[in-house]
């Protein structure tokens, strides 16, 4: 980046201001969209994360100059992405795991209701 000419920097400044506008609009859209129900909680979450990911991509590519970085940085981030996805995937995969004979909180209420019905 240190070898950039003044003309290149001036061009970058225009893209910074454009991304600024995109981010402001994106934030307004994020709040507006939160008042709509897209049918299920999962759908609402997906829509919110798509908008957030788009905004984050603009910051990463333009402000952080990732659109024209070096291979070393891309490789570092590639490894980071791999480990991050591993972290999230393993956690979500484990969310249904319980030790043997565990009664989940939702099962407790169900079990109590069943027992109460049997008593009657």
């Amino acid at each position: 980046m240190s070898g950039h000419s003044p003309e290149e920097i001036q061009k970058s400044v225009k893209s910074y201001l454009l991304v600024f506008g995109i981010l402001i609009i994106g934030t307004i859209v994020t709040v507006a969209v939160s008042y709509f129900d897209f049918g299920s909680m999962s759908a609402n979450i997906i829509v919110a994360l798509i908008i957030a990911t788009f905004k984050a991509s603009c910051v990463a590519l333009i402000f952080m100059h990732l659109n024209a970085e070096r291979k070393t940085i891309y490789m570092t981030l590639g490894l980071t992405w791999f480990f991050f996805m591993g972290l999230m995937s393993l956690t979500i995969w484990a969310s249904g795991d319980k030790p043997n004979f565990t009664v989940a909180p939702n099962d407790v209420r169900f079990a109590v209701e069943e027992a109460t019905e049997m008593d009657h």
Binding site: I9, Y16, N44, A48, F63, M64, I73, T91, I92, S95
Partner: protein, 271 residues
Amino acid sequence: MDVPYTDTARPDTGLYNGKVGIWLFLASEVMLFGALFSAYILLRVGAMDGHWPTGLLDVGPGFINTLILILSSVTVVMAWASLKLNNFKNFKLFQGITVFCALLFVLIKSYEYNSKFTHHDVILTNGMRVDGHLVEETEEFIVLSHPVEYPAEKGIGYRPTAISEAEEHAHEAGDDHHHAEDRKISKEEIDKRTNWGPWANTFFAIYFTLTGLHAIHVVGGALVIAYFWGPGSKLWKTNPERFANRIEVTGLFWHFVDLVWIFLFPILYLL
């Protein structure tokens, strides 16, 4: 002997040391915040039906804080661009605005935290649950303003429904600008009571952890940016290339702080 490649790029990677260092550090920060985000997912998915609260955070301050951080992200990169264009005066202006935005963000966050710590949640002996801002407390009673009341057995997830029902009743009664009157509660009626701190429930625990850690990053980043706006800017006179590199590196950290908030805001405030 000078450390090589602090100002100039290494011929094999094309990068100066600071840039490699900051990206490696940001990679570790991704794992740090990623771990907390995954904890949030686990807590939310594992919560009992109807017991994960929504609508407890005021969207207004969160929205304003998002705009403030976006503005600061623009100004921090404009500060670097100004140095590349040899405009030190503009650098000072943009860097100063960045520090000011950081200060604003922390002030608004403090206001939000205070409003949570002064919001009390009470379970009464008759099985009802009431929450509101604590406006008065004596040895005999407490007074909560803008109270929200619903059966405790329904869980805190029922709170938005309770608010909608109260608004519907008020609308049917022809009172569209209804505000619930302050609720005076005798201490004898109280079974359990807490304020909305990190101890209140798992939602607030993860909210304060995530936003607290983020706020620490904002403060740390702001201190460094303020240093380079102030005494650290002397380096511009002796080694402008090195100084511009340092501004770029601190800017990268600041953009990361903004990135984290871009995800935090919808996840905690809107979903």
